[in-house]
C-alpha cells in the first residue's frame, strides 16, 4: 500500500469550518456563566454566520473539489451557503426575544441551530451521496431536538416525536436507496456515478431504479411533498415558531439543493424515467397543500400546508430540468426564505393571554392595535400569494415561464389555478386583520430590537427581490452552471 500525505482542501470547506468553529466556541461559551442569559451565545453565533457568509462571498466564482471529490466548491454550493447563512441568521435574530419570553432560553438552542446550518451547508456542497446523507442527518437530528425544545409542553413533545419517527423512517429509505445505487454502480460519488451511468448497459439496471426511487422517497419526506407530507403540519404546529421558520426555509432549501444536484447531475440521463414521477408529485403536492390549507384555522398549520403547496411549485422547476427551471427553483427558495421567515417572525411576536396567538380569531382587528406588524404580515402574505411587486411574484413568474418555455403548459396552468386558490386563504387573514373588529382580550406584541432587525431584513429581502430581481437571477443562473451549463 502506497501512503502519501493526504491533500486537505481546507479552502473548499472554509464556510463550513467557520460554522463548525463557531459551534464549538458557542459550546464552550455556554459552559461559562451567566446561566440565565444566553444572548451572548446567539451574538457569537450570528458573528460566525456573518463570517461564513463573508467567506462565501470571497470564494465566489471559484470551482474546486476536495477530499476525493466528496465536497465541491462551486457557485451552487456558495449560493446555498449564502441562503443558509441568511435563513439561520434570521432565525437567530427572531429567536432571541422569543425563547426568552417562553422561558426556554438555553445555550443549546443556538448551538443546535448552528449545527443544523452546518448540516445544510454539507448537503448543498456534498458531491458524494454519503456526504449528503451525513449532512442530512446532522441537520435533521438538530431539528428533531429543536422541535421538542418546549420540554414541558405536550404539543412540542409530540411534534418532536412525530418528526423524529417519520424523519428516521425516511432516513432508512434514503440510506437503502444509496446502498442500491452503490450496488448498481460501485460508487457513491456523484461525478463517478455520472461516468458509470454514461455506460449504456448500466443505465437500465433495475437496482439503480429501485435505488433512485427510494432516494426520491427520502427526499420527498424532507421537502414534505405529498404523499410524504403528513408530518409537516403537526411538526410546524408544535415546534417553537422560530424553529418552524427554520424547518420551512433552511431544511427545505437544503433538501432541494441535494435533490437538484442528484437529479439534474448524474441522474440527468435517466430523466425520462423519473420525470413522470416528479410531475405527479408536483401536481399532487401543490393541489393538496392549497386545498387543505383553506380548512385550517390555526395559522401555523395553515402556513405548513401553504409551504407544502410551495414545494409543489418548486418541483415544477425540477421537472422542467433546464437551466432556467433550476435557476428559478433557486430564486424561489431565496424569495420563499425571506417571506416565510418574515411571516413566522410576525406570528412569534404576538401573544394573547400569555400564549402564542396562532388562531385566525386572534388576528381580527390586528391592524387597529398593531398597525406596523399587521402591515408587515400583510406584505409577507401578499408575497406568498405572488402579488407584484414582491419577491413571491417574481419567483412564481420566473418559475411558471420556465415551465411554459420548456413545454409543460399543463403543469403551468395547474400552478396558476393553484395560486388563485391559495390567494383565498392568505387574503382571508388580511381581511381578518383589516376589516374585522378586534374581539376578546387584546393581543400583545413583544417587539425586541433583534427581532425588529430580523423583520427588517425579511422585508428588505421580500421587496428588494421583487423590485430588483436582476442580480439574484443572474446569481441563480450562474449557480446552476456547474451541472447545467
Amino acid at each position: 500500500m502506497e501512503l502519501a500525505f493526504p491533500v486537505i482542501g481546507w479552502r473548499v470547506i472554509t464556510p463550513m469550518l467557520l460554522v463548525t468553529g463557531t459551534g464549538f466556541a458557542c459550546l464552550l461559551l455556554d459552559l461559562l456563566p451567566p446561566k440565565e442569559r444566553k444572548g451572548h451565545v446567539a451574538a457569537v453565533g450570528l458573528l460566525g454566520l456573518a463570517l461564513a457568509g463573508l467567506a462565501t462571498g470571497l470564494l465566489w466564482g471559484q470551482r474546486e473539489t476536495a477530499f476525493r471529490e466528496m465536497v465541491a466548491l462551486d457557485e451552487f454550493a456558495l449560493f446555498f451557503n449564502l441562503l443558509f447563512c441568511v435563513a439561520t441568521g434570521l432565525v437567530l435574530l427572531l429567536s432571541h426575544g422569543y425563547i426568552r419570553r417562553q422561558g426556554i432560553e438555553q445555550g443549546e438552542y443556538y448551538i443546535l441551530v448552528l449545527f443544523a446550518a452546518l448540516g445544510m451547508m454539507l448537503m448543498a456542497a456534498g458531491t458524494d451521496l454519503l456526504i449528503i446523507f451525513l449532512g442530512l442527518e446532522l441537520m435533521s437530528l438538530s431539528l428533531y431536538v429543536l422541535a421538542g425544545f418546549f420540554r414541558t409542553r405536550p404539543a412540542s413533545n409530540e411534534s418532536a416525536m412525530k418528526y423524529f419517527l417519520l424523519g428516521a423512517f425516511a432516513t432508512g429509505f434514503f440510506l437503502y436507496g444509496i446502498a442500491l445505487i452503490y450496488g448498481a454502480t460501485g460508487t457513491t460519488s456523484l461525478p463517478r456515478l455520472a461516468e458509470a451511468l454514461a455506460r449504456a448497459e448500466l443505465g437500465r439496471d433495475p437496482l439503480l431504479f429501485a435505488g433512485l426511487g427510494l432516494l426520491l422517497v427520502g427526499f420527498g419526506f424532507k421537502i414534505s411533498s405529498v404523499p410524504f407530507h403528513m408530518w409537516a403540519p403537526d411538526v410546524y404546529e408544535g415546534a417553537p415558531t422560530a424553529i418552524t421558520a427554520l424547518i420551512a426555509t433552511g431544511s427545505k432549501a437544503a433538501a432541494f439543493a441535494a435533490l437538484l444536484r442528484v437529479l439534474l447531475g448524474p441522474m440527468r440521463g435517466l430523466q425520462p424515467d423519473w420525470l413522470v414521477l416528479v410531475w405527479i408529485l408536483a401536481a399532487l403536492t401543490m393541489t393538496l397543500g392549497n386545498v387543505v390549507a383553506i380548512a385550517q384555522s390555526n395559522l401555523k398549520r395553515m402556513l405548513a400546508y401553504s409551504s407544502i403547496a410551495h414545494v409543489g411549485y418548486m418541483l415544477i422547476g425540477v421537472v422542467v430540468g433546464t437551466q432556467l427551471g433550476a435557476a428559478a427553483v433557486l430564486y424561489y427558495l431565496a424569495a420563499y426564505t425571506f417571506m416565510t421567515a418574515g411571516a413566522f417572525g410576525v406570528i412569534l411576536l404576538l401573544e394573547r393571554r400569555g400564549a402564542e396567538a396562532v388562531q385566525l380569531g386572534d388576528y381580527a382587528g390586528l391592524a387597529a392595535r398593531h398597525p406596523l406588524l399587521a402591515l408587515l404580515l400583510a406584505l409577507f402574505l401578499l408575497s406568498l400569494i405572488g402579488f407584484p411587486p414582491t419577491a413571491g411574484f417574481v419567483g412564481k413568474f420566473y418559475l411558471f415561464s420556465a415551465a411554459i418555455e420548456a413545454g409543460y403548459v399543463g403543469l403551468a396552468i395547474l400552478a396558476v389555478l393553484n395560486a388563485v386558490i391559495a390567494s383565498y386563504y392568505y387574503l382571508r387573514l388580511i381581511v381578518y386583520m383589516y376589516m374585522r373588529e378586534p374581539e376578546g382580550e387584546p393581543v400583545v406584541a413583544a417587539l425586541t430590537p433583534a427581532a425588529g432587525l430580523g423583520l427588517a431584513v425579511a422585508v428588505w429581502g421580500t421587496l428588494h427581490l421583487g423590485l430588483a430581481p436582476g442580480p439574484l437571477i443572474g446569481l441563480a443562473q450562474g449557480a446552476v452552471g456547474p451541472f447545467l451549463p
Binding site: L130, F133, L134, E137, L141, Y144, V145, G148, R151, T152, P154, A155, N157, E158, S159, A160, M161, K162, F164, L165, A168, F169, T171, G172, F173, L175, Y176, I178, A179, L180, Y182, G183, G186, T187, T188, P233, D234, E237, G238, V292, R301
Partner: protein, 100 residues
C-alpha cells in the same frame, strides 16, 4: 463463497420487515427498533456490494452509518424519555393532540 445475491436478498427481507414493523407497531420504542433494522439492512447491503466490487468503500460507509444510527438512538431515546416524563405512558396512538 456465498453468492452476493443471498446477502442482498436477506438485506431486502430485513428492510421490508423493518418497514412493515414501522407501519404496524404502536410503541415508539418498537417502531424505533424497526427503523434501526432498516438502517442495518442497508449496512448489510453496503458490505455485500462492497465485497462484490472488491472495494473497501462499502465497509467504510457502514462505519459512518453506524455513527449516525447511534446519534439517532441518542436523540430518539432522549425524546421518548422526555415524553415519558411528561405522560408516564408512551404509545403513538396517544399522540393525537394535533389532528388535521
Amino acid at each position: 463463497m456465498v453468492p452476493v445475491g443471498y446477502y442482498t436478498t436477506l438485506s431486502a427481507v430485513l428492510f421490508t420487515i423493518g418497514v412493515v414493523g414501522v407501519l404496524v407497531r404502536r410503541n415508539p420504542l418498537v417502531i424505533f427498533m424497526s427503523i434501526e433494522l432498516m438502517l442495518n439492512a442497508a449496512n448489510l447491503a453496503f458490505v455485500a456490494f462492497g465485497r462484490e466490487a472488491g472495494q473497501l468503500d462499502g465497509q467504510v460507509i457502514v462505519f459512518f452509518v453506524m455513527t449516525v444510527a447511534a446519534a439517532e438512538v441518542a436523540v430518539g431515546l432522549a425524546i421518548i424519555v422526555a415524553i415519558f416524563r411528561a405522560r408516564q405512558r408512551i404509545n403513538v396512538d396517544d399522540l393525537n393532540l394535533m389532528r388535521w
